[in-house]
Amino acid sequence: MKEYTYIGKDVVRIDGLEKISGAAIYGDDIDFGANLLHAELVSSTEAHAIIKSIDISEALKVKGVYKIFTGKDFPYKFGLYMKDRFIFAQDKVRFVGEQIAAVVARNPGAAKRAAALIKVEYEPLPAVLDQMQALADGATLLHPDLENYPHVPWFFPKPGTNIAHWRKTRKGDMKGGFNEADFILEDTYTVPRYAHCAIETHVAIGKFDYSGRLTVWSSSQSPHTQRHLFAEALGLGHKDVRVIAPHVGGGFGGKAGVTMEIIPAALATKLKGYAVKLRYSREQEFINTYQRLGVVAKLKMGVTKEGRITALDHKIYWDAGAYVEYGANVVNAVGLSAIGPYRIDNISIDSVCVYTNLPPGGAYRGFGYSEMLFGLESHVTRVANELGIDQIEFRRKNAIKVGDTTAYGAKMNPNGLLECIDKVVKAIDWGNKPAPTNPNTVIGNGFSLFWKAPAMPPNASSSAFLKFNEDASINLIISGMDIGQGYQTVMAQIAAEILSVPPSKIRVETPDTDRNPYEWQTVASHITWSSGNAVKKAAIDAREQILSLVQRVFNLPLEELYLEDEAVKCTQDPSFNLPLKSFVVDGIMTKDGTFKGGPINARGMFMPEFSSANGDPETSQGGHPNVHYTVGAAALTLEIDKDTGKMRVLKTALAIDAGKALNPDLVRGQITGGMLQGLATVLYEDMRYDSKGKLLNPNFTDYKIPTAMDVPDEIIPIIVEVPQPDGPFGARGIGEHTMLPAAPMVANAVEDALGLRIKSMPITAEKVAMAYLASKKQ
């Protein structure tokens, strides 16, 4: 294997000093001077109601109030995959917290005081707060005119119902598959909603100048997608919309697409010359941004007594909220992949996107796979145990391999799933459990596989510009967002490897859509793969420009020229050594005093040209909707206090096939962080709504995210590298995947320790203690 200089090395983050020194500028840090106005929202107190009237008269009297806007000022729809959403509620509200009006004032306090004085009169409508209720006959319809909503061609809404999209995947012969089975297990698993809880709340500032150009500064994972949606919704040309994305204080999917950012963008268009800022409070962050969707999953799995899966019927009903313009694609992605990383011949998947009167569901790290795997990996463990087959052997036997057929008929990519299983088994010392530390506790081991593919439109693309400076340092101009994963560093490593310039000499800034080339979004764990390919192409373009210039000037054969240590060298002439800094801007002087060449500016682009969403609507067969899957395995050892139910992760190991870990330290960082985030969703996080659709815990007092105190005693990150043929240096994405196995492996460990199967998340100490107490009484 080729030895790399920068790829596969633990290069220190190039944005590290900027961030830890406080030099990094975030959205709320930017000074807009005296013409800055502040917006405050008036939000619905009803889950479903007709807006009868909005009285702004008292609010207008508040000193400092500049203007007040309502839905009638912005009669536009918008949405990423389906246009079902409004900038402000029009005639109806569909969830508690939906924006109805905005006060724009000279200072945030005045805006808030005035917003409290706006009186909204409602005529309540029956609210549907749960997806199963929304599917029942006679359920109130949230969107009676669903048939008129524009959407991408791979969505299949059912007008006249609350079903916004129904992804059906069918393969093989279900009847035959279940007939062949010696054992069939059927059960239902439920997962509540979750919040991202990025430390930086959403913030965006819109400015519409007198020349008619809109600039939006936004804490975002998706600057180009935002520009597109702003232009589309507000009727502006793309060249006249500019999105500037400063550093982001955490995303986790919550800052993908467009949520609240459209509000200051729209307000600005009515307030020429002013900058208008909207900064969410923590409560608003909870109630009116995307949330992770809730799930009811019904699983039926047939197996032979030898442990071969003969059929899987997986029905997943998603609580997608009041608007599903992004969330419906979560449903779609899982509907194509709900077999997990298994080889199954007979498959029926129904992934049903259901409107409910709760906040809009959307992207959240894992994009639906965590929710799906909670049921599937619980079920797989139970099936193996019921058969009396070791659950690891069962997984090995059914694990998907390269060339096997996926649920939608395409071939599985090269992968190291079996290697991941073996390495986790060894690291966790599976089969051996440590002795409990005291008589109150018991120990359980839990295992889970995981997989996930990027969920993207087939034409999602990335691009890169690269320019050399006089000292042979480089500005790498790209438009992905470093949301903590180390994107900027890894992209610099890729350019560094091709161009022999150290990453410390490469500057990567956050994007500005005017100057930076197109990037679809920083989501789907696709950015290392997709943007990485674009950066690699840009670097190769630069190298070709450099080498062909040297060839032209020195008349050396192109195939003998190469880059090393920031210089052009020649395989046949060891004395030839032309430092890059001597010519990458100024060119090369020839004998007659003329110069050849000039500034080296390069570009690269990547689009997965083999991808297609053209599957059959009834079976999903025929297309190639997913570019590849990243797979892995994980296990943990859990100590449980039987009487309090409190749990402690003594040890956990996670192996992931990164294809090629471009920066192993950053991969290990993702494994640690993802594991912690996943464990939090299973052990204590939980969004709770009352019977009127109001969120009961929109705060960190009662919505708990992990602290340093909650880190497992030992986390063992394991990197497996089976190259992705079309990935940069063989790499594929790993960011989201690291949280996927946490929930099922905790459920599996609880059963291993106490003999109790818990089928709903979260698995809190209370739930475990009360289940154990009930089991003792039986």
């Binding site: 945030p108 306090g109 009662d702 992990p706 100490a765 009360m770």
Partner: protein, 299 residues
């Protein structure tokens, strides 16, 4: 999140001025020490004071001392100061334990014990040591000082015996002369800062006298009189502990809320009382115990 409410701010240089302001503004003036509850409440619109009286310049309110068996804690003494003071830990282990479980490091460095008891939430960790050590709350107004026994301090959730024109200047705890010890056990939902799902404080001495208090299990933090009466004068034994646990349903009145169900609170109180009594006994016998680890999970 911005503060929409407008108010005045004073930072008096002597106690008399504080009390005069309090006397004239009554319930429109709020004493501002740590501000960790107050500022949040103002932001959320839960209180709308006309005046904040900042007492942080008054050295006399920052006194923390142990004299003649009385532990005196001034109104502006923070939780971190209490935790870091060795004589507090020695004299009143339960107070040390409880302070360590309040909020997070950052909040504890600003928040005061006096402010904490004025918030009077049912889940008040710090109430259990004050109840067991028979604390007295010193309330001053322009007329003089009123000393209120802690047993008469908590009237209802978020309601105390303080009057509109008074402020808390300090709290005194009686440290017993005989050999005694105490422990506080708190159950929360995870390893980070949390409000108690249940809290139990246990004091005992070598003469088999017991004082027991709980929080988050009734409308106000309370002593467990029935359990104390059962235990007093008796050596701890398996049977005695079981009998004490059996009295719990008569002693507490928990509710179901977002932090816990009533049923879990009832169940886990038995576990906490049992482990708490054994831990107190261990401590009395000079053994090292770590209260945070007694209930399992990450701590």
């Amino acid at each position: 999140m911005s503060i929409a409410h407008e108010f005045n701010y004073e930072r008096p240089q002597n106690l008399h001025s504080v009390l005069e302001l309090k006397d004239s503004y009554r319930n429109k003036a709020f004493i501002y020490a740590g501000g960790t509850d107050l500022v949040v409440n103002i932001k959320e619109g839960l209180v709308k004071p006309e005046l904040l009286i900042d007492i942080k310049d008054l050295a006399e309110l920052h006194k923390l001392c142990l004299d003649n068996g009385t532990l005196y804690i001034g109104a502006s003494v923070t939780f971190t100061e209490l935790i870091d003071t060795e004589f507090v830990k020695q004299a009143c282990p339960m107070l040390h334990d409880a302070c360590k479980t309040v909020a997070s490091t950052g909040v504890r460095s600003r928040a005061t014990l006096a402010g904490n008891i004025c918030s009077a939430v049912p889940s008040l960790d710090s109430a259990t040591p004050l109840l067991c050590y028979q604390a007295v709350v010193h309330c001053a107004n322009t007329e003089g000082v009123r000393n209120i026994p802690i047993s008469e301090w908590f009237l209802a959730p978020r309601k105390t015996a303080i009057k509109d024109n008074e402020m808390v200047t300090g709290i005194s705890l009686k440290i017993p002369k005989e050999t005694s010890t105490s422990v506080y056990l708190k159950l929360g939902r995870y390893g980070g800062e949390d409000l108690a799902q249940a809290g139990w404080g246990i004091w005992m001495n070598t003469a088999n006298q017991y004082r027991i208090a709980h929080c988050a299990l009734a409308p106000i933090p309370s002593r467990a009189a029935l359990i104390e009466a059962l235990l007093n004068g008796k050596e701890l034994s398996q049977e005695l502990i079981e009998a004490a646990v059996a009295l719990i349903p008569n002693e507490i009145n928990p509710i179901t809320d977002i932090r816990s169900s009533k049923e879990y609170r009832l169940h886990v109180s038995g576990v906490m009382l049992k482990r708490g009594l054994l831990a107190a006994k261990d401590r009395l016998e000079g053994k090292e115990i770590e209260p945070a680890k007694l209930l399992g999970g990450i701590a």
